[in-house]
Amino acid sequence: MGAMADATSVLIVSSDEGVSAALAAFLIGNDGTEVVGQASTAREAATPSLGADVALILPGMGSNGELVTELASRTAVVVLGDPDDADAMVEAVEAGALAFLGHDAPFGEIVEAVHAVSEGRAIVPPQLLGSLLRRVVRRRRSEREAAEQLSVLTDREREIFELTARGLGRIEAAEMLFISPHTVRTHMQRILAKLNLHSRSELVAFAARCGYEVGVNGKDVDDGI
């Protein structure tokens, strides 16, 4: 396949080989686009070597928010899905997709979206703009309020807060910070008191609302804090 100057390179992500092949054939035959890869699983799609200007995620895989976020960190993402599922559209856009099209969108519309997002332009279905903006406003406001609450923590307490939110236990956090597990426990008790929280799980939920990365509990977690 000869690379065309200025052609937008596309990675197709789909578990349906037939649909993927049909779309690939259209894109290959279209001036201005070229297909650099087809991935049928999230793992394949995340392969860094599959560098593409645009990742086109077909129905069935766009609901994988982590996949969308992972791909959106290094390329422009278009998601195709159920045009009547407003929640799915909003979630895809919040995960980082620059465009969401209905699964029955004509191929020409898909190509237009591919070119638009490759230039950094987002395509938001007009009927969704209001609900999407409302969600973003609410989320940002919640994060701001939470950040104000976190301002009462010391730097060390903030470090332990973040590590705990990520799922590290007391011992893991102590090793990372070169302090004793007992000291971590003391800090945790202060953190919970300052934030008016009552358990590690409440802390994790609070951290998620603040927009922090949260993870599953590590090996030495117990709710004895």
Binding site: G120, R121, L133, R134, V137, R140, R141
Partner: protein, 91 residues
């Protein structure tokens, strides 16, 4: 418009929104005026809930569209001003 802008525009409850296909009209019974709203204007009007500042609206638009906040602020300000002049919101 800045983050310190404390205006919280509020849509007028008596304004009635009608959607017909891709078009949206806003009917103001106090003046019998009918205004055609594009999707962006409608979205901004809906966000005028008396709690959200124009800057918060601009931040959200910037995040959703990927456009720089400076660019978006001016457009949101224009939209809010226009909606107020049409009598669809109060500041």
């Amino acid at each position: 418009m800045m983050a310190s802008d404390l205006r919280r525009p509020r849509r007028r409850d008596e304004v009635r929104i009608r959607r017909a296909g891709s078009e949206t009209t806003a009917y103001d019974p106090s003046s019998s005026a009918i205004h055609l709203l594009n999707p962006s204007a409608l979205a901004i009007w809906e966000l005028c809930d008396g709690e959200t500042t124009p800057y918060e609206i601009a931040e959200a638009v910037s995040e959703v569209t990927g456009r720089p906040i400076d660019e978006v602020e001016a457009e949101v300000e224009q939209a809010v001003t226009a909606l107020e002049e049409l009598g669809l919101i109060t500041l």
